[in-house]
Amino acid sequence: MTPLLTTKGLSRNFGGLRAVDNVDFALMPGEIRAVIGPNGAGKTTFVSLVSGRIQPSSGMIVFDGADVTGLPAYVRVRRGIAYTFQITSIFANLSAYDNVALPAQRTLSDGRSKGAVKAGVMAALERTGLAERAHTLAGQLSYGHQRLLEVAMGLALKPRLLILDEPTQGLADSEIDNFIALVREIAASATVLLIEHNMPVVMQLADRITVFNAGRILAEGTPEQVRENAAVQEAYLGTAP
């Protein structure tokens, strides 16, 4: 099987700082991959490079067999790379419906009717449990619902790769359980790349885990392998076991 996403020698400098340093990375289709690491390890910079929000200093990104390194972000989204923001970034003054209609109308727009958009929007809202709140202004939703709306917008893009940047941040425990179930469901139709600090969530969800430290990949493997890895423990705890 060929990987859905690969990066080769991917680097990004901010001034003198190498936020992402020569990263070779591969992601198989259908996988749920978690990216973990201490603060400032370069995780968000790495996924921003993949989604095209920032340009790499050097290196190459291949998605679905094609070099996408030079493509602007919106073209990558159209090719199937969806990104949900770490800081909730919904359209606060539009209704939840309109928030989801924006991505839905683009993915469904090939000569289809208004009814198709409506069906697509409602499907995404139902999967995230927001259907009853379709006509509430997004800014008036609770924080947990705003995070879900963010995911619904990602779903409506019909992505092949869904990048979730710290999706459970600020969620209550009960909401987290629902969220885990939702990500499992999404993974049935898309590959998921997940940045997450909450280790129980990572351990439950991830097929494989990639550990970042100081802009480089420190370790990679199944949850068990990573848990046993001495280098990972050192990076997190500052001491060798």
């Binding site: 919106y74 989204v77 969806a82 923001f85 539009l94 924006l102 893009l157």
Partner: protein, 320 residues
């Protein structure tokens, strides 16, 4: 916004058009002429609102688009002897070309820089009119000769200097612009424009090419303003550089702020209201600029959503 009650929205707009039609038969001469002028200028405000209200791009240079239509149509008749429809088309074409060029350049900037850049391009346009005074008439302006301002359809000859013909032509232009605006605002394209206003970065990450959406909005906005300018030249028969001065970039902003940005009927209400205020106060003072200045400050301070914007927020959520 775009889901609720299409019938209600279209009904309201057709009602407004019908009301304006009816007013033609009851208004005294003075107000009849004034309303015709207001309708043409309201189209200018509608074009401005398209960009400022819906996309959130505040231009301080829209006088150049009005001026492009005004001079495009006016000079086509005065210098080239074209017919009325051809001159109107020339005005529109000037608007399309100019707004495409300005859009390509100015959209590389954002926020305050966009405001200053548009103001400077408009200033260049204004100075060019003065520089080529031999052709444009400079700050004296030129009169579009009355015999040229007729529309001929076979045997029917419509004299645009006749008050009723002028009023109905202004109303026709206004109605077309209003219904086009309404259709755009309610379309998927309109939803993308609003999304860009609310959060451009997020809109990009939903897969939209925000630059070309903004560029097309600049062209649509500029073309509507040019249509207003071209109609002004043809209906009122005067082409002058003051219409391209910075003051005519500020006025549509004032009208739109007053009536309510991002409302389809706000530009008409703002233009009407401002003319009404100037009309009453002209009895007491000639300090017309003072009123404009005070109105601008009071609006941004206490009434940033304008008349219709406030009504929509408090009572009529479905208003487009």
């Amino acid at each position: 916004m775009s889901e609720a009650s299409p019938a209600k929205a279209y009904g309201l707009h057709l009602g407004v058009i019908a009301l304006l039609f009816g007013l033609s038969f009851v208004l005294p001469d003075y107000y009849h002429g004034l309303l015709a002028r207001i309708m043409v200028l309201a189209v200018f405000a509608m074009g401005y609102n398209m960009l400022f209200g819906y996309v959130g791009l505040l231009s301080l240079g829209h006088a150049m688009f009005f001026g492009a239509g005004l001079y495009g149509a006016g000079l086509a008749i005065i210098q080239l002897g074209w017919s009325v429809p051809a001159a109107f088309a020339a005005g529109l074409a000037c608007g399309v070309v100019l707004s495409a060029i300005i859009g390509l350049l100015a959209l590389r900037t954002t926020g305050v820089a966009f405001m200053i850049v548009t103001m400077m391009f408009a200033q260049v346009f204004y100075l060019l009119i003065l520089y080529f005074a031999a052709w444009t008439g400079g700050d004296q302006g030129q009169v579009v000769p009355q015999p040229a301002r007729v529309l001929t359809f076979g045997a029917t000859v419509l004299d645009l200097t006749n008050p009723t013909v002028r009023y109905m032509s202004a109303l026709a232009l206004f109605s077309v612009a209003l219904l086009i605006t309404l259709a755009i605002v309610r379309s998927r394209y309109g939803r993308v424009l609003v999304a860009i206003r609310e959060n451009e970065e997020r809109t990009k990450m939903l897969g939209f090419d925000t630059f070309s959406n903004k560029l097309s909005a600049v062209v649509i906005s500029g073309t509507i303003c040019a249509a207003s300018g071209a109609a002004y030249a043809l209906l009122f028969g005067y082409v002058g550089s003051s219409f391209a001065s910075v003051q005519y970039s500020i006025l549509p902003l004032l009208w739109v702020l007053l009536g309510g940005a991002a409302t389809t009927l706000g530009p008409l209400i703002g233009t009407l209201f401002m003319y009404y205020v100037i009309d009453i106060t002209s009895g007491y003072t000639s300090a017309y600029l003072l009123i404009v200045g005070v109105a601008l400050i009071l609006l941004v301070l206490f009434f940033p959503k304008g008349i219709l914007g406030t009504i929509r927020q408090r009572w009529l959520g479905w208003l487009p």
